[in-house]
Each structure stands twice: as structure tokens, then as C-alpha cells.
């Protein structure tokens, strides 16, 4: 099943790697390079899954997620967190995240998470 995925990460390499992996599986992918752009795109709606990096300058992934949930957006969100930052994972779940993947990550594992989230 293919879906429409929003990927928000300030690291261009990660953004592109995630995008190419998801596109290779038939998903439509839109990328954004920071939290503010990500929030704007997220609020436009129409996403099947949002992949959000936690550590971004300005609005963090958790901030974006919280604002999305505050406005009633229930799109499944997968957080990308740095290894060893368990507090980010806890904060992410508290803010309404559905899953998390720790960096460095396997794009294949992320794809599996996305596929599962789309259902």
C-alpha cells in the first residue's frame, strides 16, 4: 500500500536517504528542512505518515508534534531520535508520537515502520 509521507529533517543527507528509500517502495514523499516548514506542511494535512526528526534548530520535532496534536491532527508520527536520548523518546510519546527510530538507523527498518503505520 502506498502513501503520502512528509519527512522533516534538517540533515540533507538523512532527508534524501529517507526520501529515496520510501519512494523506491512506491510512496509519494515531500521533504521539509526545518520544524517551522514541517509544521506548516503538516497542518496542510493529507499525510498518511509524518517522519519527524527530534533535534532541529528552532522548532524541534517534539514542538511540531505537540502543535499538530493540539490542533487535533492524528496523523501517525514516527520520530527520528539520537541514540542514547531516552528522554526524547519519553517526551515524544508524551507529545503523541506513534513510533520512534533511533539514529543511526536502517532505512529498511524505517520503511517497515512507515508501512506498518499506514496499515
Amino acid at each position: 500500500m502506498s502513501g503520502r509521507i512528509l519527512v522533516v529533517d534538517d540533515d540533507r543527507d538523512i532527508r534524501d536517504l529517507v526520501a529515496i528509500k520510501l519512494e523506491s517502495a512506491g510512496h509519494e514523499v515531500v521533504t521539509r528542512a526545518d520544524g517551522a516548514q514541517g509544521l506548516e506542511a503538516g497542518l496542510e494535512g493529507g499525510w498518511d505518515v509524518i517522519v519527524l526528526d527530534v533535534m532541529m534548530p528552532g522548532l524541534s520535532g517534539i514542538d511540531v508534534l505537540r502543535q499538530l496534536r493540539d490542533r487535533g491532527d492524528e496523523t501517525p508520527v514516527i520520530l527520528l531520535t539520537a541514540r542514547g536520548q531516552e528522554k526524547d523518546i519519553e517526551a515524544g510519546f508524551a507529545a503523541g508520537a506513534d513510533h520512534y527510530v533511533t539514529k543511526p538507523f536502517s532505512p529498511r527498518a524505517l520503511l517497515a515502520r512507515v508501512t506498518a503505520a499506514i496499515g
Binding site: 536517504l17 529515496i20 523506491s24 543511526p104 532505512p107 529498511r108
Partner: protein
């Protein structure tokens, strides 16, 4: 009052100063032009080869040889650029995609340069090589990283030990344990995080390290034993609650919160009744154990300091009344 400068001398000073300023402006402009040219070149190479590198991460097995052949066929500048791109991308990915990127790195000829740099006389180059060996993992990387983990330079040792975290091998575990030593020059968090990365592979060495002569090693091992829940180290952790070093005792108590050991209860109660930070840590460890073990211990802790009682989850006497 000093005599005024002769007009000819004054003129010479002005000319030399003007020439110097002009020279500096020209140097700045040249530097800026060179930088812009380099950036344009890099952007052009990026635009040309980025897709190739990205595609390598999703290539099917039968597509890989042709892809690597394309990389090998690039000119020197392009191969160097692709190598740099791959190296940066490897920071963020693991699994099959990382294996593919490593294969591209090898095809760019990066690996021999990194292997050679591991024995460079400059410590900076050796440290960079250690990081690259960890990410690219070319053949022979483990042996070289173990060598670099004993490097005379502490920065090189630190980078090498951190890089060993990606190699699931008993030798890597040994290097991480050695890095816990007080005189290793490697931050203890580095050795500890490598042991966590190694997971169950580290169990046997961590168990032995609980009896090390160096308190820094015992402290690190005690923390890791709890975090990894290493089986068979309960009695050693219980004994460390009475270690002569406070930091070791505290580490053992924190681990006993995750790895309950009934035999540790008498020592924990003694420590809790002494109060202070250690007393609270001991009380937390007691409170985390099964209630069927701790009735008598908790009764004893009721006589402890308020902080200890709080840590043990006991109600204030007035609240009980």
C-alpha cells in the same frame, strides 16, 4: 619635540602602506574567488553524483556491481567527492544501506587512504582515520582500531574506542573495559557506551571487571551490569555495596534497582540508615525489590532520615498517625 620626517621618507612610508593594503585586498579577493570556485565545483559534483550515491543505498544485489564499476570509472576529483559524500551519509544510517555505502566508499579508493592514515605521524590524522575506520569498516579495520585504542595520544584513543562500538567482537569489549580505567585518558562515558552497544557480548568481561583492582573500572562495570542486566553478577553487585569507594557503592546501588539481589539487602539497609545521598540510593534500591523480600528491611528504614524514608516510598510518621 621630534623633528618632522623628511618628505621623501614620508612619501616612501605612504607608498609602502598603500602597497601593503592593496596587496591584502588582492589576497582577500583571490581567496574569496578560489573559495567560490571550489564551492561551485563541489555543488556541480554534488548535482552530478549525489543521485548515484543515494541510489546505491537502495540498489538490488544484481545492480551493485555495475554501480560500483561506475564509481571506479570516475576521475580522481569525482571519486574523492563521492567518497566524502558517502562518509558523511554513513553518520546516519545502518543496516543494508550502510553496507552499500561502504562498498561505494571502497570503490572510490577511500579505504586504502584511511588505512594508511591510521599510522600517520600526525595525531589529528590518526584520529580522523580512527573515525573513518569505524564508519567504513574496511578489511583490517578492527585490528587497526585496537592498535589506535592504545595510541599515545588520548584523543586518538578516545575516537578509536568510540569507533570500536560498531564492531561486535570480544576484542572490542576488552578495549572498552580498558578504557574505563582511571588512567586511560578516555572519558568513562565512551567506554560505557561501547559496552552498551556490545550488549550481551560484553557480559563475561563486565562480570570479571566487577572485581577489577581499579575502582573506576569497578564503577563502570557496576553501572553497565545493571543497564545490560548481565546475568550472574548479583553476588558481586551485592558485595560492591560495601566497596571502599563511594562512587562504586553508588553505581552498584543504582544497578541493584534494575537487577534485584536479595543477598544485598543487609548491606543496603546499613547504607540507608547511614543517610545522605548514599542512604537515599540504598533506600531506592531496597524499594525496587520484590515486596516479599523487603518487609523487614522497610520496617528498619522507617527509622531512617526523612530523605531515606521518602526514597524508600515510606509515608511520613505523622501521615501514618
Amino acid at each position: 619635540m621630534s623633528p618632522p620626517l623628511a618628505p621623501e621618507l614620508l612619501q616612501a612610508v605612504v607608498v609602502v602602506t598603500a602597497a601593503l593594503v592593496l596587496g591584502m585586498i588582492v589576497a582577500l579577493l583571490v581567496q574569496r574567488a578560489v573559495r567560490r570556485r571550489r564551492e561551485r565545483r563541489s555543488a556541480a559534483l554534488d548535482a552530478r553524483y549525489r543521485r548515484l550515491v543515494l541510489e546505491s543505498t537502495i540498489a538490488e544485489d544484481d545492480e551493485v556491481p555495475a554501480l560500483l564499476e561506475r564509481v571506479r570509472g570516475l576521475d580522481d576529483a569525482a571519486r574523492e567527492h563521492v567518497g566524502r559524500m558517502v562518509f558523511l551519509m554513513l553518520r546516519g544510517v545502518t543496516g543494508e544501506a550502510a553496507d552499500r555505502l561502504r562498498a561505494v566508499a571502497v570503490a572510490t579508493g577511500l579505504a586504502p587512504r584511511v588505512l594508511a592514515d591510521a599510522r600517520h605521524r600526525s595525531a589529528v590524522r590518526r584520529a580522523d582515520a580512527a573515525e573513518a575506520l569505524g564508519r567504513l569498516a574496511p578489511e583490517g579495520a578492527l585490528a587497526l582500531l585496537l592498535e589506535l585504542a592504545d595510541d599515545p595520544d588520548p584523543t586518538v584513543r578516545t575516537v578509536a574506542v568510540r569507533a570500536l562500538g560498531g564492531f561486535e567482537a570480544p576484542e572490542a569489549v576488552g578495549a572498552a573495559i580498558d578504557a574505563l580505567a582511571s588512567d586511560s585518558g578516555v572519558p568513562s562515558t565512551v567506554g560505557a557506551s561501547v559496552l552498551l552497544q556490545q550488549g550481551s557480548t560484553a557480559g563475561d568481561r563486565v562480570r570479571l571487571a566487577l572485581h577489577d583492582r581499579d575502582p573506576a573500572v569497578r564503577r563502570g562495570a557496576a553501572r553497565i551490569a545493571g543497564l545490560l542486566q548481565v546475568p550472574g553478577c548479583g553476588d558481586s553487585l551485592a558485595a560492591l555495596v560495601r566497596d571502599e569507594h563511594e562512587s562504586v557503592r553508588l553505581a552498584a546501588m543504582r544497578s541493584l534497582e534494575r537487577l534485584p539481589v536479595r543477598a544485598a539487602l543487609p548491606a543496603l539497609v546499613d547504607a540507608a540508615l547511614r543517610g545522605g545521598i548514599e542512604g537515599e540510593a540504598a533506600a531506592r534500591a531496597v524499594a525496587s525489590m520484590p515486596t516479599t523480600w523487603t518487609a523487614a528491611a522497610l520496617e528498619a528504614l522507617a527509622a531512617g532520615e526523612p530523605g531515606v524514608r521518602r526514597a524508600a516510598g515510606l509515608r511520613r510518621p505523622e501521615a501514618v498517625a
